[in-house]
């Protein structure tokens, strides 16, 4: 008997079901009707069209909900982007302004009042100037990283001679090389070096970063050699040192933002780990490649390539 019919009969007859052949036959017919109804509903439930319609309707609801969520998320991201831009502007302006004042005062003392200072005072002022400049450079690097990550990078390209660029960076490092007693040299090839079409400040930054790293992570008495060699339609610039090297297990991470190798961090506590990240981005954005070879305790050679400018013949 259909379970529902059984339940209903029990309620009506209070468990004392009448019993007779007619009655039994009647109940059988009613029960079959109940069972057939059930089958009918089951069939209806299983009907593929209905199921599809229900699924579609459900998907539609989900999609509408997702669309609304995406719209809200997009609004939120635009707001975050705006706040970030304002934040960066505040960093740039509010942090750099007092640092500018300090830089100007200290450089004024160094450039113009140097003769009135004792050598001890001069040394102190110079050290103050250098640490202030480290802070400025760190802020500049952070701003550069933000710019890189925003993806909104537009370079305005200028034709520059690679040799001029390298020489001008080198002249900035003569002082550091001599205080660290490192032999810094530029080995020019016998062939004429080419012009490159680049954002000069970005490539200058990359050269600066590689030379500075080489000077910092090489012990006194060591050497740093810069080379520039044209290869096909590229110019390859390399910076070789006989410094501390990069541990093999950390070589894969060396271009990561904020990463510093253990032996480097041990030797020099200052350092943001941003330099190589920025340099890699600058080189690659110009269609070049950056890489290195390094053996711990023996030294490191960093190199990068850049496309030679098309209009080289007319300019050189």
């Amino acid at each position: 008997m259909h379970h529902l019919l059984e339940q209903q009969l029990k309620q009506i007859f209070n468990d004392k079901l009448p019993s007779s052949p007619e009655w039994e036959a009647f109940l059988k017919v009613v029960s079959d009707t109940y069972i057939n109804y059930d089958k009918g509903y089951e069939l209806l439930d299983r009907s593929p069209d209905i199921k599809k319609l229900e699924e579609l309707s459900h998907s539609n609801q989900v999609l509408t909900k997702n669309e609304e969520e995406l719209r809200l998320e997009n609004e939120r991201l635009l707001e975050v982007d705006k706040v970030k831009t304002e934040f960066i502007s505040v960093i740039a302006h509010q942090l750099r302004t007092p640092l500018s004042a300090t830089k100007w005062v200290l450089s004024l003392l160094i450039d113009e009042y140097s003769k009135n200072l004792t050598s001890e005072q001069r040394d102190l002022v110079k050290k103050g100037y250098d640490s202030n400049d480290r802070m400025i450079n760190l802020i500049n690097d952070m701003l550069e990283v933000t710019r890189i990550e925003s993806g909104k990078v537009q370079y305005s390209l200028t034709l520059v001679h690679i040799e001029d660029l390298i020489s001008s960076v080198l002249s900035d490092f003569v002082g550091l090389a001599s205080t660290r007693q490192i032999n810094l040299s530029f080995e020019k090839p016998s062939v004429q070096l080419p012009f490159i079409n680049v954002a000069p400040e970005k490539i200058r930054g990359a050269i600066q970063n590689l030379i500075e790293n080489a000077l910092i992570y090489t012990k006194s008495g060591g050497k740093v050699v810069i080379r520039a060699i044209p290869e096909n339609n590229m110019i390859k610039v390399s910076v070789e040192d006989n410094g501390i090297g990069i541990p093999e297990h950390q070589q894969a991470d060396i271009f990561n933002k904020f990463f510093r190798a253990d032996n480097a961090a041990k030797m020099q506590t200052d350092g943001s780990g941003l330099g190589l990240f920025i340099s890699k981005n600058a080189v690659e954005k110009h269609g070049g490649q950056i890489g290195f070879e390094s053996v711990v305790g023996k030294g490191t050679t960093f190199y990068f390539t850049l496309p030679i400018a098309n209009d080289n013949n007319t300019k050189s």
């Binding site: 960066i88 502007s89 740039a92 302006h93 750099r96 302004t97 640092l99 500018s100 004042a101 830089k103 100007w104 005062v105 450089s107 004024l108 450039d111 113009e112 009042y113 003769k115 009135n116 400025i136 802020i139 500049n140 701003l143 710019r147 909104k152 990078v153 537009q154 305005s156």
Partner: protein, 147 residues
């Protein structure tokens, strides 16, 4: 201190200063300590320097006297540097005046904006010593045929 410095200067410096005496520079900057340092240094070079602390005052000052070169900050009260620059470059009376934006802003789009509005140079304050600024000025004045 100044006397000592003067004694050590060579005749070439003196000659350069005499030439600079004819050059007028207007500094538009709201940070008074930076103004003090910058104008002090420019005065030493022999330039005739005056200053105002916002864009509105700068435009007023230009009505009275047109300098050869203007240092223009961006973030200032009343009228900021970009608005000021736009107004100045729309006025042909000031065509001969060189303009250096001198700010601690300096994201690429800000530099682009400055150049587009007609600034001759965009210098980020924290990246230059006053000595380097002085060099930039003579470079620009030479390029503009003013010295």
């Amino acid at each position: 201190m100044d006397n000592n410095i003067n004694k050590e200067e060579n005749p070439l410096d003196e000659a350069r200063k005499k030439k600079n005496l004819d050059i007028k520079i207007l500094v538009v900057e709201d940070d008074l300590f930076l103004v003090q340092l910058l104008t002090g240094r420019l005065n030493k070079e022999g330039y005739k320097v005056s200053f105002v602390d916002n864009g509105t005052q700068a435009l007023k000052s230009l009505e009275k006297e047109i300098p050869d070169l203007m240092f223009l900050d961006i973030i200032m009260p009343e009228m900021n540097g970009f608005e000021t620059l736009k107004k100045i470059r729309a006025d042909s009376r000031y065509d001969q005046m060189a303009i250096i934006i001198f700010s601690n802003l300096g994201q690429e789009y800000e530099i682009e904006e400055g150049k587009k509005l007609g600034a001759d140079e965009f210098l980020i304050k924290a990246n230059f010593t006053l000595k380097e600024v002085v060099d930039k000025i003579s470079e620009l004045l030479k390029k503009k045929g003013k010295i």
